[in-house]
């Protein structure tokens, strides 16, 4: 696949944002001069509240209720107000439970009405036909900050349409969170999946099972797809064609299913089939689990609970290595889209650009959860991010620095080594991956049967989206 940003820089690419503004200003001037409608041509709803500003009107933003309440309070009451005043835009930001984002997005599309900017927790590529391409602002930010993080680009770029359908604002690395004392007690290690397979029965025997979900929720999706990568069971190839049913991919997927079946049978409990996204947090915070894969909300909640014995014993690590690679999905890929029906597209674009150009405070206030879509958004890049996270005062000191390593080396997009296509998005949102793993773990299908069944469904989805011209 050619590099997306290179394509944007090519002479045949779409208008740049600068061009657009220049041409728009010229057009507005012409209409203003000859039509006597200067105010309407600029789209001003009323007199400027703040002089010499370019935008106007209302900007409505929808995003998740961040697990750090203080981040949302700062965002809503400080950052957004400040930005609104600086740009003469009245910004209204709404937050919803992340499990309801997709259904709300679908409802807004059905009604053809809603927010100007809509944030999704994972790349919403099935909505591509409902949103405007954002190549212009991606190019603008790239020129100022350097290349977009690979995980962000692969999540939001469609090589078939050559468009960025979303703006990759932030992502969260997905570390392993484990109780160090329990691992030491059983003499276990998390260097490889095989290490974890060996440690799992011992951990369960001391009353602290492993907690890896196989349920219809985001954590299970991310973790189990990562496990497939580690064993070389890729769902699709670099050209975004479904390959999981063929050759080494099939063998890798079967092996990954066997590993998870073993870990479940010897080291977990039945509850993992009924988990919600919050269940591993709750079980870990209750002191039961020894190992979980999740973004840092577990470690942060342990700190907030005041249980220092638990939080000091909660350590972070990179995803275990498999026989093929050490690679994991991002846990959250925060992607903003601008609906075609959005009323204030210009303000929405400027908001996104400005936010990314000033991302440091977002990273710090989110307690190092929100990694920027452009690493250069934090001056100094990964080394600076590592330094910032090293300042965290909680024990063990420096535990959050591993996030930088994970982000830099071991984080990828759903659909790796290809892009996050609508096929992958639909596979995720219909939870075909956890269902495949659960079938095998529960003995309802052999690994080979489960992979064949999954491949059939994935190929059907591929044909569906291929016919729509999106893969």
């Amino acid at each position: 696949m050619s590099d997306a940003v290179d394509e944007l820089d090519s002479p045949s690419s779409a208008l740049t944002r600068g061009d657009l503004l220049k041409r728009g200003t010229a057009a507005a001037f012409a209409v203003g001069m000859f039509g006597g409608l200067a105010e309407k041509s600029f789209g001003f709803a009323g007199p400027l509240q703040f002089a010499k500003k370019q935008l106007a009107g209302e900007l409505r933003i929808m995003q998740w209720a961040h697990f750090v309440p203080a981040y949302d309070q700062w965002l809503d009451n400080v950052y957004v107000k400040r930005w609104g005043e600086a740009n003469d835009v009245e910004v209204k930001i709404d937050h919803i439970n992340n499990a309801l984002l997709y259904s709300t997005g679908a409802a807004q599309v059905a009604a053809q009405s809603g927010h100007d900017l809509f944030w999704f927790i994972s790349p919403p590529s099935t909505f591509q036909k409902q949103v405007i391409p954002l190549n212009d602002i991606v190019q603008e930010v790239t020129k100022k900050l350097g290349p977009m993080a690979k995980v962000a680009r692969k999540s939001t770029y469609n090589p078939r349409t050559k468009q960025f359908y979303g703006f990759p604002d932030d992502y969260a690395p997905d570390p392993v969170q484990y109780r160090r004392s329990f691992l030491q007690e059983v003499g276990g290690s998390l260097r490889t999946w095989d290490d974890l397979r060996r440690a799992a029965p011992k951990l369960k025997a001391i009353g602290h099972p492993v907690g890896l979900g196989m349920s219809n929720e985001i954590d299970s999706n991310m973790l189990l797809t990562s496990l497939l990568y580690c064993y070389g069971g890729f769902i699709q190839n670099e050209e975004n064609r479904i390959v999981i049913g063929q050759g080494s991919n099939r063998r890798g997927a079967i092996e990954a299913l066997q590993v998870m079946r073993d870990i479940y049978r010897n080291g977990m409990s039945d509850e993992v089939f009924a988990w919600t996204a919050a269940s591993n947090n709750q079980a870990f915070l209750a002191g039961r689990l020894s190992v979980a894969l999740n973004a840092i909300s577990i470690a942060r909640s342990a700190e907030d609970s005041g249980n220092t014995a638990l939080s000091d014993d909660t350590w972070l690590a990179s995803i275990p290595r498999g026989p093929v690679m050490r690679m994991g999905n991002e846990h959250v890929m925060g992607v903003f889209v601008i609906w075609k029906f959005a009323k204030n597209k210009e303000a929405a674009k400027k908001y996104l650009v400005d936010q990314m150009l000033n991302y440091r405070e977002h990273f710090v206030r989110s307690k190092y959860y929100n990694f920027p879509g452009w690493t250069g958004a934090i001056k100094g890049g990964f080394p600076a991010i590592r330094k910032l996270s090293a300042q965290d005062p909680h024990k063990p000191r420096g535990k959050y620095t591993v996030l930088t390593t994970i982000a830099e080396k071991y984080t990828t997009n759903p659909g790796f080594p290809g892009n996050t296509t609508p096929v992958i998005d639909e596979i995720f949102n219909t939870y075909l991956i956890p269902q495949m793993f659960a079938e095998v773990a529960q003995g309802k299908a052999t690994p080979a049967e489960a992979v064949s069944g999954f491949a059939r469904k994935a190929n059907a989805l591929y044909r569906k989206w291929r016919n729509q011209g999106l893969v």
Binding site: T104, N280, N281
Partner: protein, 274 residues
Amino acid sequence: MPFAIFLAFPFYFALVTMFKTNLDLANVEHSPYLYNDLEGGFHWDFWNYATTEHVRFLFEDTNYPRWLLNTLLVGAAVVAITLLLAMPAGYALARLAGGWGQSAGVAIFLVYLIPPTLLFLPLSRLITQLDLKDSLWALILIYPSFTIPFATWLLMGFFKTIPQELEDAALIDGASRLKAFGLIILPISLPGILTVVIFAFSLCVNEFIYAFTFISSSEQRTVSAGIPNDLIRGDVFFWQSLMAATLIPAIPLALLYNAFLDRFIKGFTGGAFR
């Protein structure tokens, strides 16, 4: 008595949990029904092992008081609209519609059974066209679509239990039908009307899908949509605040049900044999 204790247990559990410290709540070795010290021991001065921090968070750091007010406003408006339309409809079906009244009543009741999950998408478009998005008026407009069919069916059955002769006597004495309805039927129908009031209000408090779909700003939400949105953040549940948020509106509703229990049962069963 044991049955009453059984029914009151969820209230007790919520009451205890809402004042628990994080450390006490998260420790599975601690009793969830008592306040424990760090070692899991119980003390009679239990208030020293509890905290109001999470209730304070609910009232000061979320829009919870506003959600309560919104719920009250929507509930009151919907109850008023429901009574205004369901009373004459139920009366007409009971008295004036003849033999097909029963069938029409059942048909109206069936409308109540259409799930909101089927309706919220098309209704969402309607609400947008009416420019009622993010407004409590959206709920006030839509909620009667499920409260009126049920209330009409319920009141129809109740009105049927009232002897026709009472009205006939009033009519012979020169009262208009409206006057006979107001002076004779309504006072006798109080249990049925009360049932409709409580039931319609409860439906409004409990409804989630419309409240969530039509309203996106936190200040405009009702309790049913506000609680799961603002107290479940990412994958973190604010358990103590969640318990407080659900217990507070549940208590007055429970007391209301309890105070009018006899009339409520009479209202539901009034038309059962007619």
